[in-house]
């Protein structure tokens, strides 16, 4: 129903697809950096938005926007897409920027003693809007704020844009930053098992209608429900016309997600690769996009096309599944 024709990744393995692909192929945990509230976090090594993008146009830019601008740029620099749609996932925007802004209002001499340069970084659609400005993308520009499932709900949204003819190409991805504020909020929300180690980054897929030249993979189905993983996976497989036995790999984000499908798939399929979050941390809104790009990496070197199931279950209730046929 639609093809993935390119991808980019700015991940805890480094800036660029080659670093992500190498880390995933080796199933190597990314480097851990100090994280005050807990054990550590997986940050994009050496990433600083003002160093990477330069001083011009980056005053007050938050880390999340910087990650998104770089990841989208990797695709548009290779192939300019002025009329493309851009669909970017987020959880709550940059909570670090929002909390700092409100703190300034509360502690300043006057409640409006805040830095206007930081205002855009407190608004959720700024990463998408800034990507459009930096890379001249004037098509539909949408921020999908659906937490961990954003990557797969973004695929579903992108499919509608393509079907309805609102764009011929969709750049679809997500960005999430590591920050002390996000870390403290995650710690507050965590259950008795404690919070996951956080990760960060941005990843973007280029989507085109099925039949595109040089397609890396075809998205055969995307489904989401407020239901259990087996129910959603079962229907997605049905929509894709694939039997469970044909699935070569399940790419999950967490152990909990992987274990939710033990009744449906054998260990060889479930353990083809570790849950991506075990390697790069909980990357929030970008977690499902990193799972999709990991699926492209692990299945790409195989002797024939492989069917891969990508599962994302947001703790808030959404379960989403995509079925890919990855080209050899």
């Amino acid at each position: 129903m639609m093809d993935i024709t390119a991808w980019s990744a700015v991940s805890p393995y480094g800036v660029g697809v080659q670093h992500f692909a190498a880390g995933i192929r080796q199933q190597r945990p990314a480097m851990t950096w100090a994280d005050p509230p807990r054990a550590g976090g997986h940050l994009v090594p050496g990433f600083d938005q003002r160093t990477v993008l330069g001083k011009k146009g980056t005053k007050g830019m938050d880390r999340m926007t910087g990650l998104a601008v770089v990841a989208v740029g990797h695709l548009t620099q290779a192939c300019p897409e002025p009329g493309a749609a851009l669909v970017l996932g987020t959880t709550s925007g940059s909570v670090q920027s929002s909390m700092a802004f409100t703190r300034a209002s509360l502690t300043g001499e006057r409640p409006f003693d805040v830095d206007p340069a930081t205002i855009p970084s407190t608004v959720m659609n700024t990463p998408a809007g800034q990507c459009a400005i930096w890379h001249g993308i004037t098509g539909p520009n949408t921020t999908i704020a659906s937490g961990r499932a954003s990557g797969l709900l973004g695929l579903s949204y992108a499919r509608r844009l393509l079907r309805a003819g609102r764009a011929r190409t969709v750049l679809c991805g997500a960005a999430e930053e590591y920050s002390p504020a996000r870390s403290w909020l995650a710690a507050a929300c965590a259950g008795p098992a404690g919070p996951a180690v956080l990760g960060e980054g941005a990843a973007v897929l280029r989507l085109e209608p099925e039949g595109a030249a040089g397609a890396l993979a075809t998205v055969l189905a995307v489904d989401s429900q407020l239901d259990t993983a087996p129910v959603v996976a079962g229907r997605a497989l049905c929509q894709a016309g694939i039997a469970p036995g044909q699935v070569w790999a399940v790419v999950s984000g967490t152990r909990l997600e992987r274990d939710s499908l033990t009744g449906m798939f054998g260990h060889d399929v479930l353990d083809r690769m570790p849950p991506v979050g075990e390697l790069i941390g909980d990357t929030g809104a970008v977690s499902a996009v990193f799972q999709l790009t990991a699926a492209l990496v692990v299945a790409a070197g195989q002797p024939g096309p492989r069917y891969v199931l990508v599962l994302s279950a947001d703790p808030a209730g959404t379960t989403a599944v995509a079925i890919l046929r990855v080209a050899a």
């Binding site: 409100t102 205002i119 809007g129 890379h135 704020a145 609102r166 403290w184």
Partner: protein, 357 residues
């Protein structure tokens, strides 16, 4: 909404478990389903789509967490409050309130055009067969953060919101939610539903120009995209519900863009924000709801607080008093920071629901 009592509207979800914007969304979703004459069983038997647009998501709760952090430090943050922050809680609240499980529940965070984005996506979900029923719109709660942003940018009016007025001084912040129920015409006819209006089409684009200043050419282009999608010519449009924030920049840029598209056939152009304030992510959803009510009620809502129309805007904004009108096609504009534009076109359904003026 100082007197909003969520317990009056919510039946399944517990008010304490929802953030303020999620309460607005869930209450509006409950009201929309009831107004459509659909029970939980009706909706539960069908594939549904829930799409809620928002500027701020759980910013109201994030402000409270920031305040608590200042007093007690970050180690003592309240987990129950922190779980209300992520924006997906708005669409999930609608789905949960109606007991839906077979539903794609997405939140769109495209700032002050998000309501129209959600309506557009739901229009596509229905027309491409992804869902049989869609509950869509927008929700936001006023927060310290939001008010401070607009105030610091010099965009808050000292007294009243006066869109298109020579003396306009800015917005007044507002809050709330608007939710519409969309279904295919076949479905509506088969169940003898009350049809307020038809969604004829919509348009989306991005200025790719500036984070806060709208761009005339791009706003015009978005209106052209919407008209083409709806199969409508400019001279067929009877009313434009403008984004019309009442700021110096927005109103003149939007009015000029309208003139670029409509030339000498500019219809009447009103701003509901004169009455409602700027409810951010809910604003364009409330605008689309008002357009549907205008069609069924055969009237044009006024632009209130109006004294003298700015000659640079040069539009008939229906000052201060509603007028009777037989509206066939109505356009609703939503423009957002980030240069995100979304325009929805509604049409009268002949034989649909009507209210005597």
């Amino acid at each position: 909404m100082p007197d909003f009592d969520p317990a009056r509207w919510l039946r399944r979800t517990l008010p304490d478990e929802l953030g303020r914007a999620a309460q607005f969304a869930a209450a509006a979703g409950r009201m929309a389903a009831a107004d459509a004459g659909l029970t939980e069983a009706d909706l539960g038997a069908s594939r549904c789509h829930v799409c809620v647009g928002t500027t701020e998501g759980g910013a109201f709760e994030l402000d409270q967490l920031t305040e608590a952090e200042l007093i007690n430090g970050p180690e003592a943050l309240d987990g129950a409050l922190a779980r209300k922050v992520p924006a997906q809680s708005l669409s999930l609240a609608v789905a949960r309130e109606l007991g839906l499980t077979d539903v794609e529940a997405a939140t769109i965070g495209t700032a002050c055009a998000a309501g129209n984005y959600a309506i557009g996506d739901s229009f596509d979900a229905i027309s491409t067969g992804d869902a049989e029923f869609a509950l869509c719109g927008g929700a936001d709660a006023v927060s310290r953060k939001t008010f401070t942003i607009f105030y610091r940018l010099g965009l808050v009016a000292p007294d009243q919101c006066r869109p298109f007025d020579t003396d306009r001084r800015g917005i007044l912040t507002g809050e709330g939610a608007g939710v519409l129920l969309l279904e295919s015409l076949d479905s509506a006819l088969a169940r003898d539903a009350r049809i307020y209006a038809e969604v004829l089409g919509y348009g989306l684009n991005c200025d790719a120009h500036h984070s806060t200043a709208p761009q005339r050419e791009s706003v015009a282009r978005c209106m052209e995209l919407a008209l083409r999608d709806a199969g409508v010519k400019p001279d067929e449009v009877d009313l434009i519900s403008a984004h019309g924030t009442g700021t110096r920049t927005n109103d003149v840029t939007e009015a000029l863009a309208i003139r670029d598209v409509y030339a000498d056939t500019v219809p009447r152009v009103i701003s509901l924000k004169s009455m409602l304030g700027h409810a951010m992510g809910a604003a364009s959803a409330l605008g689309t709801v008002a357009c549907a009510l205008a069609i069924t009620g055969r009237f044009i809502p006024p632009t209130i607080n109006h004294r003298t129309t700015d000659p640079h805007c040069a539009i008939d904004c229906v000052p201060n008093t509603a007028v009777d009108a037989d509206l066939r096609i109505v356009q609703n504009n939503g423009l957002a920071f980030g240069g995100n534009n979304a325009v929805v076109i509604l049409g009268k359904y002949e034989g649909g629901y009507e209210v005597a003026p």
